[in-house]
């Protein structure tokens, strides 16, 4: 069962499974290196323990795990918002605090106030924000980059729309355009596919693919096993610790997934594992 389930999961839902690396391939450059990272919040046991993560330059890495597995804590550590208790995070060989401008974050859609009266273009401009300078406005360069990013996600004609008028897929694309406009080489995407139908996911993956071809590196936190299986070069299964890491075909096995999602998948068995593929099972 394990093999067939994995096969099904690995099937290119979006007809765009990424080319597997040639055998014996080694990486010489990493966009992100996380070494023995322990992190958490005051007064609580560590949320993540002994985490090792590598995102090679120009690749997409999918981070899979149930709610409470520490995905957001890991993201916050990578973004420099949570001080590690132990261990180290480096982006492009630099300690993360020196590499902030090279990391762009795309939050979960619920983190954003979609009713706030700003236009699509206003939001994408925010990507160009650099530092606290009183009375500063957006430069011509910021505006040009915002326009280019909007074109890249094919939202140019929506530039003056109020963000609240956009559909779920368009909202994702606005946030992605903002991350692109930041000009960072590493993108961290938090649940970019949640609640999207297959066609819209496909559009997003296409944009991601272009970004990666342009040399950007991407780390995606998601519940969506099918997307990880089809779009990422590597998968990382996280549940407080790294359960397994490697190419999706070898990592997304029933055994690893049941350990990652505790008993969720173990108890639902074969039938629902294929459902997970069809309906983009979310683990909550």
């Amino acid at each position: 069962m394990s093999a067939s389930a994995t096969q099904r999961l690995g099937e290119p839902d979006h007809e765009r499974a990424r080319e597997p690396r040639p055998p014996g391939h080694t990486h010489d450059a990493f966009a992100l290196e996380v070494d023995d990272l322990w992190a958490g919040y005051p007064g609580q046991p560590p949320a993540i323990e002994a985490i090792d993560v590598r995102v090679p330059v120009g690749e997409i890495v999918g981070l899979v795990g149930p709610n409470g597995a520490g995905k957001s804590t890991l993201f916050k550590s990578i973004l420099g918002l949570v001080e590690p208790l132990r261990g180290e995070v480096r982006a492009f060989g630099q300690p993360i605090r020196d590499a902030r401008a090279d990391v762009a974050y795309m939050p979960q859609i619920e983190e954003v106030d979609w009713d706030f009266p700003v236009s699509v273009n206003d939001v994408v401009l925010m990507g160009g924000y650099r530092r606290l300078l009183p009375f500063a406005g957006w430069s011509r360069d910021d505006r040009e980059r915002a326009t280019a990013a909007l074109e890249q996600v094919r939202l140019a004609e929506y530039a003056s729309r109020q963000v609240g008028e956009l559909s779920g897929g368009q909202r994702r694309r606005v946030l992605m355009a903002r991350a692109i406009a930041r000009g960072a080489r590493l993108l961290l995407l938090d649940e970019p596919f949640a609640g999207l139908d297959a066609a819209v996911q496909h559009d997003l993956l296409e944009i991601l693919d272009e970004l990666v071809k342009g040399g950007r590196s991407v780390l995606i936190a998601t519940h969506d096993l099918a997307c990880v299986a089809s779009c990422s070069d590597d998968a990382i299964c996280l549940n407080k610790r790294v359960i397994a890491t490697g190419p999706p075909a070898t990592v997304l096995t029933e055994e690893v997934l049941s350990r990652t999602f505790d008993r969720h998948l173990l108890t639902v068995g074969t039938v629902n594992l294929s459902l997970a593929h069809d309906e983009h099972l979310s683990a909550d």
Binding site: P107, D113, M126, F135
Partner: protein, 290 residues
């Protein structure tokens, strides 16, 4: 025609009416700018709490012969910081925390006043507003606080908007999110104090909420909402001021009622617009399925 001009010009023969007009224009500008954030971040209740909390500062300053507006400012800013603090680490919900801070400060104010046996008209002018009692130093105070508020918003408009729209991502680009969340509450506190003497504790929140809410029905972008709510507040202020002068009614409720009437009109106009079918769609005939 002459009568209309007379109606408009006549009140300003009096210096207290001119001062009233100036202070109302300052209130309109500050209220429009800060009120846009109040309306769009769901801070209406915080605004009301900040307004009521000023009673404690007003009462304590009054009893001790200190500057009453300064007392109001200290009470409002302290309450703003208290609200921000409970928002962060409260084990009760945000609105419950505000409700508690609000009644505590208001009760303290009433308690202090109740110790005085004589009638205290100056104090009640803060509760219900006394636009015609605005002095030159009140006007100067409003001008300074208003200018400070506008300068801060202009200086950090990008940060204020980014934190309001998406605090999580703002933190990742190095914006001190917590500072700006507190700053917004302090801006509301200052805006309340700017309008306090003119409008009064009970109604001051209206100058933050009503014009901005009306403007939000009519335009979409934050700069447009700010500009339009300043204009709407100024129009309501002038109409209210004239009504009170000519009809001999209290000024601040007149202004607030005019502003609320404007809101009702805007709401009615935009609701009708929304429920209309596009021209190319013909409505389904009634009872077609019968």
């Amino acid at each position: 025609m002459d009568a209309a001009i007379e109606w408009l010009i006549d009140p300003y023969r009096f210096e207290f009416m001119r001062r009233a007009l100036y202070v109302l224009l300052i209130v309109s500008i500050v209220g429009g700018v800060v009120g846009t954030f109040v309306v769009h971040k769901g801070l209406a209740f915080s605004g009301d709490a900040l307004a009521h909390s000023t009673l404690a500062g007003v009462a304590i300053a009054f009893v001790n012969g200190a500057n009453v507006s300064l007392g109001a400012l200290i009470a409002a800013v302290a309450t703003a910081l208290g609200i921000g603090w409970t928002q962060r680490r409260g084990r009760v919900s945000y609105d419950t925390a505000i409700g508690i801070v609000f009644v505590a400060m208001f009760s303290l104010g009433i308690l202090v006043i109740s110790r005085r046996t004589s009638y205290t008209p100056d104090l009640f002018s803060f509760v219900f507003g006394n636009i015609l009692g605005v002095t030159d130093s009140d006007l100067l105070g409003a001008l300074l606080l208003g200018a400070g508020t506008l300068i801060f918003v202009a200086a950090f408009r990008r940060e204020l908007v980014m934190v309001a729209y998406d605090p999580a991502t703002s933190a990742t680009v190095g914006i001190p999110v917590r500072f700006f969340q507190y700053a917004l509450l302090v801006l509301i506190a200052v805006a309340v104090v700017v309008a306090l003497k003119a409008i009064g504790i009970v109604l001051v929140n209206a100058m933050l909420i009503v014009p901005a809410a009306t403007a939000s029905l009519l335009v979409r972008r934050i700069e447009q909402i700010m500009a339009l709510s300043i204009a709407l507040a100024a129009i309501a202020s002038v109409i209210g001021l004239h009504l009170s002068f000519h009809a001999n009614v209290a000024t601040s409720p007149a202004i607030v009622l005019v502003a609320c009437a404007g809101f009702a009109v805007a709401l009615a106009a935009t609701s009708r617009r929304r429920s209309t079918l596009p021209a190319e769609v013909t409505p389904a005939p009634r009872g077609a399925d019968a």
